[in-house]
């Protein structure tokens, strides 16, 4: 999303080492909270939630000896702002091959801001079945003051207070040249 705009990086919140440690901790917290990886289903939200989810899946695999289930959802068709957004994100595949019935789903996204993406993800999951529980893991939480819906993250890499004029970008080797988290300023119009 932020790819198309001309953004200026104001400050670097995390470098690649810090990101790695945060994800390790998230993976540990997830298995601790759920007492193991039984019935665990890690679901990445496209796009940037996906590589993060994959890394968490690998880490849990290391901790528990066996990786948990992994899935991908694309929430484009469930957005509440399709008719108003100018440059719509492209719609891509949702891949939830395993049945979600009775599973503990951990949604993974890069940044939690207004909560609307998560609302869309929840609606979409419910159309697939009835999970036992849905939890949310995010690398960055931009703080409760920005929330437009009553949504909270269960596992957070780092909480970063921000202004509305700012954008937090999680850069990943799968899509960008480097691995880092930075605060960017939107260009003033």
């Amino acid at each position: 999303m932020a790819d198309e705009l001309n953004l200026v990086e104001k400050s670097r919140i995390m470098d690649s080492a810090r990101m790695k440690r945060a994800l390790s901790r998230l993976a540990s917290e997830i298995v601790e909270e759920n007492q193991g990886a039984e019935n665990l289903y890690i679901v990445g939200i496209r796009r940037r939630g996906v590589p993060l989810a994959e890394r968490i899946v690998d880490k849990i695999g290391e901790l528990e000896g066996k990786p948990p289930l992994f899935g991908i959802i694309d929430i484009t068709l469930y957005r509440d702002d399709l008719s108003t957004v100018g440059a719509n994100p492209i719609v891509n595949r949702t891949e939830l091959d395993a049945d979600i019935e009775d599973k503990i789903i951990v949604l993974v996204d890069d940044v939690l801001y207004t909560g609307r993406t998560i609302r869309a993800a929840l609606d979409q999951l419910m159309d697939f079945g009835r999970p036992k529980k849905v939890q949310l893991a995010v690398l960055i939480d931009r703080g409760r003051e920005h929330r437009e819906l009553p949504i909270q993250a269960d596992f957070v890499g780092k909480t970063v207070p921000t202004k509305q004029s700012e954008i937090i970008k999680v850069m990943l080797k799968e899509y960008d040249d480097l691995e880092a988290v930075g605060i960017f300023e939107k260009p003033s119009d």
């Binding site: 068709l77 492209i90 595949r93 697939f128």
Partner: protein
């Protein structure tokens, strides 16, 4: 970068680019996944109104569009306009304006005369989707045929596609010829001399070959597309009898053996078993006729999604 489908209407394959065609097919892939779910519905077009305005009767295409709209949570309305109500004197433009007054977001139209969707597009605020206009075009049919081919052959570029039958009256043939040549396939057409325009080749820039016989067209083909022989034509003396047609042009296993070993068979439906296509071929594993129907719903969902403002996938 994504190429937004900025057009509101889908009037013909003639008007769209290869990149747009691929974008529509990539988008349709995602809707295929939706159609495989237990709950075949997404809220994307909730509150939108889609009107199926069919001046020619059609159960198959109309049902396909209706399901596509409903699976996107849109409200679908079917209007079958019989010729008698047209003879009541309402002009096409008046029909369009009357419908527009009910605020539809999209009108899917099929008519016996070419150019009707184009007329509607000028007059109506809604997005107009051409579901078949005379012998001109049937764009969603060509798109679903392309999706079927892509599923099995991975790419359309470089393929040899044979289209056999009543080319003269076929909007399916025309749309397919436009699409396949745009995507880099070679198209050979064959049929009874009376039903294959000899000067067709001039209509297409490159990649189209008019063959003198069915065997020549099918020889070495990757895809064999059989057109429906319209029984009504029989009365107009285009060919002696249906039996004659079956003997000389029908797709039998024997004729199909002339094509490549892994060639696939397509038919827009409904088929006349034993006439343009032998039962043994229609029921074989090479025939993808039912796949076409399946992809048809996904393609139409993609078209409705894009026409009402969505953006296409990047594949």
């Amino acid at each position: 970068m994504e190429k937004p489908f900025r057009r509101r209407d889908l009037l013909g394959i003639r008007d769209i680019t290869a990149a747009e065609i691929n974008g529509i097919l990539d988008t349709a892939e995602n809707f295929r996944e939706v159609n495989a779910r237990e709950i075949k519905k997404v809220p994307t077009l909730r509150g939108k109104t889609v009107i199926n305005l069919f001046f020619e009767s059609s159960t198959r295409t109309r049902t396909s569009f209706e399901l596509a709209a409903k699976r996107l949570s849109a409200d679908a309305v079917n209007i079958s306009v019989s010729s008698s109500s047209l003879s009541k004197g309402e002009t096409l433009v008046d029909t369009a304006l009357n419908l527009d007054a009910m605020d539809p977001d999209c009108i899917v139209v099929r008519h016996g005369s070419a150019g009707v969707p184009h007329q509607l597009a000028k007059v109506s605020r809604a997005a107009i989707i051409n579901a078949g206009d005379g012998a001109n075009e049937h764009p969603t049919q060509a798109l679903l045929d392309a999706m079927t081919i892509r599923e099995h052959k991975k790419t359309i570029k470089g393929l040899k596609v044979a289209i056999v039958g009543d080319i003269l009256h076929s909007r399916v043939a025309r749309s397919n010829i436009h699409l396949l040549t745009k995507l880099g396939a070679t198209v050979t057409v064959a049929g009874p001399g009376t039903l294959v325009p000899k000067d067709f080749a001039h209509l297409v820039a490159n990649g189209l070959e008019v063959c003198s016989g069915v065997e020549e067209a099918i020889d070495g083909a990757d895809v064999v597309m059989i057109l429906r022989i319209q029984r009504e034509r029989q009365d107009s003396a285009y060919f002696p009898t249906l039996r004659e047609y079956a003997i000389h042009f029908g797709l039998t296993n024997e004729r199909l053996d002339l094509a490549k070993r892994d060639a696939i068979v397509l038919h827009p439906g409904p088929m006349n078993r034993g006439i343009e296509i032998a039962s043994e071929v229609a029921d074989s594993s090479r025939s993808l006729i039912l796949d076409q129907v399946k992809y048809g719903v996904a393609v139409r969902m993609a078209v409705l999604y894009l026409a009402t403002g969505g953006n296409m996938a990047s594949g």
